[in-house]
């Protein structure tokens, strides 16, 4: 059981990393794109806008770890 948990933890860290919001946001962007693409509306702009928003919001509260 412990090994299974370690295996899952390894892949979580590998793919999702230390900020799960980025992966969740990326998934939501593609999901929203799929929904809008089923309508007559254009859907190509959704992922770039969401990705840009994700970068800005996750970096907005960043604080330096290393001394300048």
């Amino acid at each position: 059981m412990r090994q299974l948990r370690a295996f899952g933890r390894f892949w979580w860290d590998f793919v999702i990393g230390d900020d799960w919001r980025l992966a969740l946001g990326g998934g939501c962007a593609l999901g929203l794109t799929a929904l809008v693409a089923r309508t007559d509306l254009s859907a190509w702009w959704i992922a770039p806008v969401v990705v840009t928003g994700l970068l800005v919001t996750t970096l907005a509260y960043a604080k330096p770890r290393a001394p300048h």
């Binding site: 998934g27 254009s42 960043a62």
Partner: protein, 251 residues
């Protein structure tokens, strides 16, 4: 055009990871000898080849659109991690990746470790070199499998990865030192932009979006994300300079 960008991105991503693996391998080999290190490298490469050999053909069995959504999501998750960290490093919010410092630390740790030789194999050196090559190589395998499957051209991506391996290993064999002059942080910044762009492009395409301009949209995405990333670096630096953030807390 897409093939050229893909080959360049795969080469850069693989070269960066191999530079990191080379640092670990050299540190262990120069302190404990090459014999067990070579075994560790061969075992790691064989394991990685098995991973690529198993995952690559399996992924290509999926319908193209489903495959592109999965690959797009993975590349977005992975690329955004790289890009976020690269932006924080460029803004000096995180320390820059320094291969020379990592090499010195690895050498000190390896020297301090007890000799764990059983029979003719130094298992400490074997394990360390296996782990170094496997973990860094897994990111290379990830790029090869996702790019190769989504673009439908494994030979191109594998050639790029093998070229990067030959170049890095060749230079490493000649200089016998960590490749600290490789602009690793800049490369990581570029790779983060590329992975995010491909993730956006393929993921949206697989989800049913039609890109205006076709493949040319990929170039626009690369340019746009690069510009946004540079703007974010400038913004973060100016926030620090203006005293709006205080050092010492998590980035």
């Amino acid at each position: 055009m897409r093939s050229v960008i893909l080959a360049a991105a795969a080469f850069a991503a693989c070269a960066v990871e191999m530079v990191e693996a080379l640092t670990i391998v050299l540190a262990v080999a120069l302190t404990r000898g090459w014999r067990s290190v070579r075994l560790g490298i061969v075992a790691a490469l064989a394991t990685l080849a098995a991973v690529v050999g198993a995952l690559g053909p399996t992924l290509t069995l999926l319908p193209l659109d489903a495959l592109r959504v999965i690959v797009g999501f993975l590349l977005l998750a992975f690329g955004l991690q790289w890009l976020r960290k690269a932006i924080l490093r460029a803004a000096r919010y995180l320390p820059l990746h320094d291969e020379a410092a990592i090499f010195d630390r690895e050498v000190a740790e390896t020297r301090a470790a007890a000799v764990a030789e059983r029979g003719h194999v130094d298992w400490y050196a074997f394990t360390l070199s296996f782990k170094g090559v496997f973990l860094e190589g897994l990111e290379v395998a990830f790029v090869v499998v996702t790019f190769g499957a989504a673009h439908g051209d494994f030979p191109l991506i594998i050639t790029s990865a093998v070229t990067a391996l030959v170049v890095v290993a060749g230079v490493g064999a000649i200089v016998h030192r960590p490749l600290s002059r490789v602009p690793e942080n800049t490369l990581k910044f570029g790779v983060g932009v590329m992975l995010t762009s491909f993730g956006t492009f393929w993921g949206s395409e697989g989800a049913g979006a039609n890109w205006p301009g076709g493949d040319a949209a990929l170039l626009v995405l690369v340019a746009m994300y690069a510009a946004i990333a540079f703007a974010l670096v400038t913004w973060l630096r100016s926030r620090y300079a203006e005293g709006l953030v205080v050092a010492g807390e998590p980035a």
